[in-house]
Symmetry: C2
Subunit: 243 residues, 2 copies
Amino acid sequence: MSNPTAAILIIGDEILSGRTREANAHYLAGELTRVGIDLREIRVVPDDAQAIVAALNALRSAHTHVFTSGGIGPTHDDITADAVARAFGVELDVREDARALLAAHYAASGLEFNAARLRMACIPADASLIDNPISAAPGFSLGNVHVMAGVPNIFQAMVASLLPRLTGGRPVLSQSLRIDRGEGVIAEGLAALAAQFPDLSMGSYPFIRNGAYGTNIVIRGTDPVRIDAAMTRLAALYPGEPE
Amino acid sequence: MSNPTAAILIIGDEILSGRTREANAHYLAGELTRVGIDLREIRVVPDDAQAIVAALNALRSAHTHVFTSGGIGPTHDDITADAVARAFGVELDVREDARALLAAHYAASGLEFNAARLRMACIPADASLIDNPISAAPGFSLGNVHVMAGVPNIFQAMVASLLPRLTGGRPVLSQSLRIDRGEGVIAEGLAALAAQFPDLSMGSYPFIRNGAYGTNIVIRGTDPVRIDAAMTRLAALYPGEPE
């Protein structure tokens, strides 16, 4: 039996203008090779509904999987979810499960859950959500199309959530903790913790917020009891806000 | 009048496997923005004749220009020229002007001009050559398709040769000198020379050959007399081998 095939569709004017150097395709190419999915094509298209729909329909009929990156944020030029719904001919509206994820995230982080941010809860009715442990706004899978964020560390976290589902492994669960310290400060303690939980993966995603360094730690594994245990230890080491 | 549009077609299994991080699309995206050509799409396809031909025909009918990168070297998987000839339905054979360029280059550098390298002189009959001041093997333009090398510094040198022709500027001429010293050693002298010839551009393309650092300097401009003068000064500063 030959391997499943895949295409990556990158969406964003900023790539085509040369302003932003695209990095997600290279990252995902390596991950797909690792899990035995043959990547056959990468396309980059602008923030243009007609171009996105045309590319989606060409790629989803030709490949086992299509992975998209970009265009699912809160601003007017984030039109990927709408284009995916159009390509599949399905309705798009605020979905309660996605809205609840965002409401909890913004309540925990003290940010306003405004109308623009509510756009990120617009998900096609039949899609399954892709976990975003960094900033809550989910990606989604509809049919063989997997829609993910363009921000590289969120994209990578979504890929980590999604790939085990596609390759038939046990579902991977995750919990995250936001720590208001830089990666360099916590690296040693995190490495020691990871050594005590070799069955779990611990991802570190640095950020800068209001000029201060912080790190989101995402703990993943297949055993929820073990994840709880590791998360409790982590929270004791670095008291922070669970997100 | 709206701007001309363009697509970039990147050819190479090594990009899709994640082994190589693609860099030419980002570089060319910035250059196209600078000269007022709207980049509308980037595609990456494998070293597969059918995939290349299909992408070429889709993109060349949709855009003013199509720029390709990769697949024009001497090995069996370098099939871009053949695919371009197939897409246009034209013959492909060794062309005398391209063969002469390669013969002169290999004679000057003491490398054997073998059958594999002769493949790089196979150019569609009606194509115009794109200058390769680094390693001689030319790119070519056929209709609105511009075929260039995948090696980043050669790709960039070819873009510099090609773009003025597309945007209606005066033809840009070039001469190059290979200097068997690293960029860091010659940077100061080169900067002083460039300041004396503000009407010329001086590109520096580092390489490592047999473990030793070297630099190809390409001097470009529209006035051949000025280029000769600058090249004479450069050769006196850093005696080397003209290529």
